[in-house]
Subunit: 126 residues, 2 copies
């Protein structure tokens, strides 16, 4: 459309934007990460992830399945067993998520320090 560059897809509307918005959903990255070691059951994910409700996990898994990132396998056993695993597409997203989490690990404290300083400045001025 207009002049092109690496950021255009990101700055304007395009299919990639949908992906960014999916990743931006609060639990998407956390749940994908939880699946990154292999197939797991719903209850196992609940145990791995702090602060997610069963309902929100179910909704998140359903959304990831709709986007082609997660597959659901129901085994006809007694008792019934359902497992979730990454598709190849979902697995390819683990690397980019890892880059982000490494940044967070390295710089999280600096962000918290900035927030503290900002709160103090606001309290002084406000």
């Amino acid at each position: 459309m207009s002049a092109s560059g690496p950021g255009d897809c990101f700055l304007a509307d395009c299919p990639g934007r949908l992906t960014i918005e999916l990743i931006a959903e609060k639990w998407t990255a956390v749940v994908l990460y939880g699946l990154s070691e292999g197939p797991v059951r719903h209850g196992e994910l609940i145990g791995m992830i702090g602060g997610i409700s069963r309902k929100v996990l179910t909704q998140t898994l359903r959304r990831l399945e709709a986007h082609g990132l997660v597959s659901r396998h129901a085994y006809a056993e007694v008792p019934p067993r359902v497992e979730y695993e990454l598709t190849p597409l979902g697995a390819s997203l683990i690397g980019p998520i890892h880059v982000l989490t490494e940044w967070a690990r390295t710089n999280g404290d600096a962000v918290l320090d900035a927030l503290d300083a900002d709160s103090e400045a606001t309290a002084r001025n406000g």
Copy 2:
């Protein structure tokens, strides 16, 4: 606290989680990307980013400033000039964001195809 591994910080509550949640806010990554070429004015960012309102951009810039990722410079000129630019901390986040956007560029169509297939299956079964 418990057994440790690369994903622990992400799966449990920790300072890094705050950062992930910041990045997950809808406009954070887009606005940081818009600032990645150097200082820009509010109105220039509006022109670069599709679909953001002036008010939401102002809120986003304020939030990024509070987190130490963006600095605001007001120049005593006539008319007054205000520019925004990345701090070194904010600039260090551009690389990780770029990795994500490249993933989106490569795989965005596959995600859209999955969504289409899922909608059709839902329409058939529902």
